[in-house]
């Protein structure tokens, strides 16, 4: 059985600044992997490499057995065309720290924008499914609201519904609760917990230790562009072996 995400020695630099210095890890189908680490450790960059929002400089990255951004023929790599990159991205859902909802569209239009525009799903079908998804994240009554009329937690739940509308095989969460007021964090984590329970493969960059411990199947601690420590969340959190992990956890716990 092949992994959903496989990274082998992934390097990424922005100009002279090397952000990822050889990341290797595997995410199994149905698994929830949480990535922890101090800011600037490269967690978000790694996440953005998985759906090719950032191009990696060296190493290899596979999603569902296919190379990200390239096609291999013999020992040569060919860059994928824009349209191919787009259709692969469409199979990976992404949720951002700042929600990035489309402000000129209602909640329902946000959710249907992907299927209608990218997959050519008929509008009626997309709206029907969009309503179901908004219902699933507890926002059935906010269908016609614009993002500016919603709270942060509600916006993030619409964003999750928007990503789910593409029926992704993998969901990426980039600090989904970091921009939220403390009392709104719970409602977003609840939706994510429910999603994990349904068997969605998820890679979650987060500072929510409780969520990682409770929902995560695997935990990765990153610092300075490398994976410092990884393993089952309860173990890593209870008995961190590496001193950098210990130092980080003592500050956040």
């Amino acid at each position: 059985m092949s992994a959903m995400v496989t990274a082998e020695g992934v390097h990424k630099s922005f100009g002279r600044l090397e952000v990822l210095k050889g990341i290797s890890l595997e995410v199994q189908p149905g698994e929830v992997m949480c990535i922890l680490g101090p800011s600037g450790s490269g967690k978000s960059t790694f996440l953005r490499c998985i759906n090719h929002l950032e191009k990696i400089n060296s190493g290899r990255l596979w999603v569902d057995g296919e190379l990200v951004g390239y096609r291999q023929a013999g020992d040569k790599l060919y860059e994928l065309r824009d349209s191919e990159v787009c259709s692969k991205r469409a199979e990976i859902g992404m949720v951002f720290q700042r929600f990035n909802l489309f402000p000129h569209m209602t909640a329902l239009e946000n959710v249907t924008s992907g299927p209608v525009c990218v997959r050519n799903v008929p509008k009626g079908d997309a709206r029907k499914r969009g309503r179901e998804l908004l219902d699933r994240v507890g926002l059935a009554d906010k269908v016609d609201s614009y993002p500016s009329q919603l709270s942060g937690g509600q916006q993030q739940r619409v964003a999750i519904a928007r990503a789910l509308a593409m029926q992704p095989k993998l969901m990426l969460f980039d600090e989904p609760t970091s921009a939220l007021d403390p009392e709104l964090v719970g409602e977003v984590l609840d939706v994510m917990r429910q999603l994990a329970g349904e068997g969605m493969t998820m890679v979650v960059v987060t500072h929510e230790i409780g969520f990682a411990r409770e929902v995560g199947d695997a935990l990765v601690f990153m610092d300075g562009g490398v994976v410092v420590e990884s393993g089952p969340p309860r173990e890593v959190l209870a008995n961190p072996r590496h001193e950098r992990t210990q130092a980080f956890l003592s500050k956040v716990l």
């Binding site: 929002l53 991205r89 489309f102 525009c117 500016s148």
Partner: protein, 310 residues
């Protein structure tokens, strides 16, 4: 105080609304009086000065030649703006292209057309036949030509006017559209890419609709400006509104009266355009603010209410 009981005090009877004597603003009343007196003086002098000869203004206001000129002016404005906006969007997208040659080409176009007066450009198109007496369409570098005609029959005064006004406008619109595109948060195109949208879909469905909020107000200005700039076309003897008025006063010497006729028409059309612009802005503001701004009618009602003494 009875708060010492340690219990939350039950909500007491709500105190009366505050009724205070408003601050007086004598300065505002004086300013209003000065302006009213000045306005009355201007109106009085315009009404009583016999040299205005308002009768002649009224006589020509709806004359067929003036109305025809007005229609031509509206046509020119509309077509030149369509050319300007379309080409402007293309130039703005080219300007932001990752291909350096494409973005430089756009930069060069804007540099050239924004850097020379539109009056010069109009004259240039009018006299284009001096350098290219024949204009055709075919294989470049002297290859076979499929369609051709003399420049004077291809570049009629109308075509020269549209080229002069439209191509110049495109340079300005390109900068306006570019500013609009840049103003949209990068997270928006990122979210669109993450959904699998192509660059073109992202631009058309996500970025441009949001850029509209920034693009519309200056485009309205440009349209109003174009309405008046189109009067420059009179130099190539194309009978738009101003040239129609000039043709009439060159015969009867009622110069001021006909200039007033033209000016009043420009003002009327400008007013209609501003009114339309307001509602277009309102449409593109949806989702960006929780409360849409009042319509002029609502604002009038509010202002009238606020005048009432308290």
């Amino acid at each position: 105080m009875t708060a010492a009981t340690g219990q939350e005090a039950a909500p007491a009877v709500r105190p009366d609304d505050i009724k205070a004597i408003p601050v007086r603003h004598p300065g505002r009343w004086i300013a209003a009086a000065v302006i009213l007196v000045l306005a009355a003086e201007i109106v009085y002098s315009m009404a009583t000065n016999p040299r205005f000869r308002w009768g002649i203004v009224g006589h020509y206001f709806f004359s067929s030649r003036i109305l025809h000129g007005l229609v031509v002016t509206l046509e020119l404005t509309a077509i030149a703006m369509v050319v300007g906006i379309t080409l402007g969007v293309v130039l703005a997208v080219m300007r932001l292209s990752p291909n350096p040659l494409v973005s430089t080409a756009s930069w060069f176009y804007i540099w050239l057309f924004r850097g020379t007066p539109v009056l010069v450009q109009l004259l240039f198109w009018e006299f284009i036949s001096a350098i290219y007496p024949r204009i055709g369409f075919g294989v470049p570098f002297g290859g076979p030509i499929f369609v051709h005609g003399s420049a004077n029959s291809v570049i009629t005064p109308f075509v020269a006017a549209i080229l002069g006004l439209g191509l110049n406008e495109a340079a300005y619109m390109a900068e306006i559209v570019r500013a609009g595109i840049i103003s949209v948060d990068e997270g928006q195109s990122e979210a669109a890419s993450a959904l699998g949208m192509t660059r073109l879909q992202t631009l058309g469905r996500i970025v441009l609709p949001q850029a509209m909020r920034v693009i519309i107000p200056p485009t309205g200005n440009e349209t109003i400006s174009m309405l008046k700039t189109s009067s420059l076309v009179s130099v190539i003897a194309y009978s738009e509104l101003l040239y129609s008025a000039q043709l009439i006063y060159s015969v009867n010497y009622d110069t001021i009266q006909l200039l007033i006729v033209a000016s009043v028409w420009y003002l009327i059309v400008t007013s209609v355009l501003s009114f339309g612009q307001y509602y277009v802005e309102r449409y593109f503001a949806r989702g960006s603010s929780r409360m849409l701004p009042d319509t002029p009618a609502q604002r009038l009602v509010r202002n009238l209410k606020s005048i009432r003494p308290h």
